[in-house]
């Protein structure tokens, strides 16, 4: 009975914190929530121009525009979630010193807000696909949902670790921004993986971010996309799929272990 009450309270709390974050974030801007859709589109526009007109990588391969759009939408989700979640616990220091609530609610709220935005962005991607006469099948949508679930797990695990570390070491903020740059340029988002030498293809496909983006391109856009299955042998091919689960478990344990000291350290 008391357990059940705790559960519903956690859900209510996560929901309420998410609503608050959402309202505060878009307050005072005219376009409001539309910005979170417009931002990846604008970034897509810039990169598309650069890579089809100035550097002509894009114009040589089929479906480059859709590859790029999908890649950017997925990447934006990863970078936005981890950056927001990383600071979210430290930012709630005052509140945590005044009242006890399950600290995990902060991270869950941040991750859910970001996931909703990703969902809407994916609808935009699908709209573009249909415009380009690539209509997703039921099966490809099902696989997409599984991939997004994997992505959510990856982001959540990363957020747990980053946010708990950030409470102790504010340097993580700067380090993570640099690491994000490294991941962005190494994850075959703006260029096709096919132009990368084979041994590096193997390496970058070990990263779950590249794997998710390539798998999503494969199931949604074109079977030309290189996926782990093409270049990695068993059991290495499992690595990118296992990393998110390991991160989630380790992240959760580390977060819960650190949580009891958040009030004094944040």
């Amino acid at each position: 009975m008391s357990m059940k009450k705790k559960k519903t309270n956690l859900l209510d709390l996560v929901r309420q914190l998410a609503i608050t974050d959402f309202k505060i974030k878009y307050q005072g801007s005219i376009l409001g929530y539309a910005w979170s859709l417009a931002k990846p589109l604008a970034m897509f526009g810039v990169l598309y121009l650069v890579f089809t007109i100035f550097v002509r990588i894009g114009s040589t391969i089929p479906h480059y525009a859709l590859y790029l759009l999908l890649g950017i939408v997925l990447w934006t989700y990863f970078s936005d979630t981890t950056l927001t979640a990383m600071r979210s616990v430290a930012d709630k220091g005052d509140l945590m010193r005044k009242v006890y609530f399950p600290r995990i609610a902060i991270i869950l709220a941040a991750s859910i807000t970001a996931a909703i935005t990703l969902g809407l962005n994916m609808l935009v991607v699908i709209a573009f696909m249909i415009f380009a006469h690539i209509v997703p099948t039921g099966l490809s949508l099902l696989f997409t949902i599984l991939l997004l679930l994997e992505f959510y797990i990856l982001c959540l695990g990363t957020s747990f670790i980053l946010s708990a570390l950030y409470v102790k070491y504010r340097d993580i903020g700067h380090i993570w921004e640099v690491l994000l740059q490294l991941l962005f340029y190494s994850s075959a988002i703006i260029y096709p993986l096919s132009i990368v030498p084979l041994r590096y293809q193997k390496l970058v496909l070990l990263s779950p971010i590249t794997q998710i983006i390539q798998d999503a391109r494969y199931v949604l856009i074109s079977h030309d996309a290189i996926i782990p299955h093409n270049v990695l042998r068993f059991p290495y091919v499992l690595i990118p799929y296992i990393i998110p689960v390991i991160l989630l478990v380790l992240g959760y344990i580390y977060f819960e272990k650190s949580a009891k000291n958040f009030a004094e350290e944040a």
Binding site: Q16, R97, K98, V99, Y169, R170, A263
Partner: protein
């Protein structure tokens, strides 16, 4: 049922690390990796043992910085104790202060839901209670305005109105009376009354001994991170007043006259110096001053520790007192005062009170002890000779 323990605190210690040089970046950690960490430990609490029973109204008192709020935060699970064990039976209302979670950028309505949820109420429950909360706070027309446009009084009213809906078994309350005007304080006291009638378990932190005595079944006195006494509220209030008494006397302003020409001593009837009295005991106040023919009158006042003027007397009506010829005088006063801390104000005058010659603004402190054995048959600030009849 009354012997059921709601909160048990066993050997709790809490220390905070206070860094001398803050090494909270990796770089400074790396640079100072071989030097020993420079921080001092600040022991906020040491070896606290406490049992609070179900249905008890328990007070925690102590001076600022003594660790009482830290103790409350450990009970609330906000801080983890460095050592020791804590067991809480039943769910605990997590609030320590009013208005937790309030966000100035949200409307009053949104804040009710936000703050209520953080305090542990379910969304459904808040929806049910919403009208009641708004009515009680008397803010019906303001609920769609942003909180930042509320006056501080309105914010407190809303916060209080939410906080008292908490249906938890155990409530932790820290100094809520410190905010708000007198009508708000009355509302608070009514709420405490209700909590007491409903036999809720309450842990209450306050500086106000009157409220502690009025509501608490038991209280603990915390000083320098230790519980130095755990007893009936009257006894705790008494010890608290004594603990504060020397602090007042150390005040450099204390006992200094403006001109440096007068002194005052408080004695008992046998002529021994004394500063702690019981209600109804007689005190002899001995005044000395440098001989000065223009000193024609003396006046003395008793002030309480808030600086309220409780009682005063002077020699103006004393015909031919002969004060101008002497340099010492005394007055005997029966201290029919309620327990608490007081101080004396003493002055020498010319022909009337406007003509002040010298003055001790903050004279010696007098502590009136709680009567631990019998309650008085009177209440209020002073005793007035009373006769009841048919």
């Amino acid at each position: 049922m009354n012997n059921e323990v709601a909160i048990s605190v066993k050997d709790i210690s809490k220390s905070f690390k206070v860094p001398h040089e803050k090494h909270d970046t990796l770089k400074s950690k790396a640079i100072h990796i071989f030097s020993s960490r420079k921080y001092s430990k600040y022991n906020a609490l040491s070896d606290i043992n406490l049992e609070i029973k179900k249905g008890e109204f328990f007070g925690i008192v102590g001076k600022n910085g003594c660790g009482k709020s830290t103790l409350l935060k450990i009970i609330a699970n906000i801080y983890a104790p460095t050592k020791g064990e804590i067991n809480v039976k039943g769910n605990i209302a997590p609030f320590i202060e009013l208005g937790v979670g309030f966000n100035p950028e949200l409307t009053g309505r949104e804040n009710v839901f936000l703050s209520g949820t953080i305090l542990g109420l379910s969304r459904k429950k808040i929806e049910q209670l919403y009208d009641e909360i708004v009515d009680f706070a008397e803010l019906n027309e303001f609920m769609d305005q942003k909180l930042k446009n509320y006056s501080s009084g309105m914010q407190v009213r809303l916060a209080f109105s939410i906080a008292i809906r908490s249906d938890s078994d155990i409530l932790l309350i820290d100094e809520v009376l410190a905010v708000g005007d007198s009508s708000f304080q009355r509302k608070c006291l009514n709420y405490f009354d209700k909590l007491k009638k409903d036999k809720r378990t309450v842990v209450f932190v306050s500086h106000d001994m009157e409220t502690i005595k009025q509501f608490c079944d038991r209280a603990a006195l915390v000083d320098k991170g230790k519980i130095i006494s755990n007893d009936k509220p009257v006894i705790i209030a008494n010890k608290y007043n004594k603990l504060n008494a020397p602090a007042l006397q150390n005040n450099s302003k204390t006992n200094k006259s403006v001109q440096g020409n007068i002194t005052i001593q408080v004695q008992d009837e046998d002529g021994k110096n004394k500063s702690i009295f019981s209600t109804g005991e007689k005190a002899a106040l001995v005044f000395k001053w440098k001989k000065n023919p223009s000193v024609k009158n003396l006046g003395v006042a008793i002030m309480n520790n808030r600086g309220d003027f409780i009682y005063g007397t002077n020699t103006l009506n004393l015909n031919n007192s002969g004060i101008e010829k002497v340099q010492q005088f005394f007055v005997s006063i029966k201290l029919d005062l309620k327990p608490g801390s007081y101080y004396l104000t003493f002055g020498t005058f010319g022909n009337n009170q406007m003509e002040v010659i010298d003055l001790i603004e903050h004279g010696p402190d007098i502590t009136i002890e709680e009567d631990e054995h019998s309650r008085f048959n009177w209440e209020g600030n002073v005793f007035l000779p009373t006769k009841w009849g048919e």
